[in-house]
Amino acid sequence: MMNLPGPAIAVRDLRVVRGGAEVLHGLTFEVPRGQVTGLLGPSGCGKTTLIRSIVGVQIVTSGEVTVLGEPAGGPALRRKIGYSTQSAAIYRDLTVLENLRYFAAVLGAGKDDAERVLEEVGLAGAGRQLAGSLSGGQLGRASLAVALLGSPELLVLDEPTVGLDPVLRQDLWGLFQSLAERGVTLVVSSHVMDEAARCQRLIILREGEILADGSPDGLRERAGTTDLEEAFLRLVKEKAERVR
């Protein structure tokens, strides 16, 4: 999986108009295979729209999005991408296991795949609980578990760690790292800058444009500070001065 040619995702001049306003203003970047790439930026910067474009469920205005060598949304990609939306996209009136078994059947994944992913997100004890009775954090992890079904090559996760306590957050980032070590490519969005340090690669978005694209160390160096939050602020200021 690691030695396939080309990047996992290649985006060229992507523009998206939603509700009459342009929310992505011509993005161009690549995401390498087998790494955790963080998609960071404040709420409303276009993270979710970009993620939807990568998964192939967003109507794009212009530009190209190539995923695993194919145009985004192509039929061959539908079993290769695990996708988890920001709000938990699972059936509240089914148990967690019933949810996982249904999505596993749709993907053609093995029957014991449901138990495996449940274990991976640390919900092994909650399989027989109705999803609607879970706490917010558990619900989010159940939704993440669905994305892990069928061991996809690419995982696209929209804010998977929102509302989790620090211990669980650390566990999940540990899971992401170990998946990347197995050759899985991960794109993880977050609006919390301290999560950026856990990624090998960062793409920072602001108001529909790329503010920075590189490794966390490269970013610190460029901004001249060790604190990523501070680095973000300096980059915003730097850009504002350039525009002026």
Binding site: R78, I90, R92, Y102
Partner: protein, 244 residues
């Protein structure tokens, strides 16, 4: 299209209903109670023999329209539809899954109402009981398909509920329940000619009236089945992989 995915979807919808016992009880119980009420409100066996089958044609239609429009609206709102559309599920897999599950529920509903009507309430039906069940199930599929179609225009569950009287009540008024169709003003009769529920009700009345399979009955069954297929295709058109 995939049989596995279709069957998994039907199983999932039935599992959701199994967890929701109250809805299940309402689905089967309410039509039965209404039929009992009708019998004693009219209190005249001859009139009940005329109106009973008409109601049998209307119930499954109303109930399935409502259940489907709300269920689909919920699938859109919670993101499960987007998740499914990003995966290998085809829209006809989803539609047929719905049709199988709700068709089974409709058959159960009609079976209970019919059993009560034919025994306790003394309804006299000249034709085959199986033809009554067939027309009722086709009718419920028509309601389901229309519910699916109209749910695409509802942004909230609240709006989805409002579509029920908007779509169902005009058809119920004009289908011959209140006044026989040929006794209505000619413009109203023409209006009722293009409403599928009119033919469902006419088919029910034919089965109740005579033991023969008349030309009118065959024509009505074909019209109802044709409308159900047409509505399903329209419903399919509202399920998009890419959304704005």
């Amino acid at each position: 299209m995939s049989l596995t995915i279709t069957l998994a979807t039907a199983g999932r919808i039935l599992a959701q209903l199994r967890h929701d016992r109250r809805t299940l009880a309402l689905l089967v119980g309410v039509p039965s109670v209404l039929m009992i009420l009708l019998r004693y409100v009219i209190d005249d066996p001859a009139s009940f023999d005329r109106l009973g089958p008409t109601l049998l044609g209307i119930f499954p239609f109303i109930v399935m329209f409502m259940v489907t429009s709300i269920t689909t609206q919920r699938e859109r709102a919670t993101g499960t539809l987007e998740r499914l559309m990003a995966g290998p599920l085809g829209r006809f897999d989803l539609l047929l899954g719905y049709a199988l599950a709700f068709g089974a529920v409709a058959a159960a509903q009609v079976a209970v109402v019919l059993a009560i009507s034919l025994t306790w309430l003394g309804l006299e039906v000249a034709g085959s009981v199986w033809l009554l069940v067939l027309v009722a199930v086709l009718d419920s599929l028509l309601g389901m398909a229309l519910g699916l179609f109209f749910s695409a225009f509802a942004r909230t569950e609240f709006q989805a509920v409002q579509f029920m009287p908007a779509v169902v009540l005009p058809q119920s008024l004009l289908c011959g329940l209140v006044v026989p169709r040929d006794a209505m003003a000619s413009w109203l009769e023409r209006l009722s000619d293009v409403m599928p529920l009119s033919y469902a009700v006419e088919a029910m009345q034919e089965v109740a009236r005579t033991g023969d399979v008349t030309g009118v009955l065959v024509r009505d069954i074909l019209i109802v089945a044709g409308c159900a297929v047409l509505a399903l295709v329209l419903g399919a058109a509202t399920l998009r992989r890419r959304t704005p």
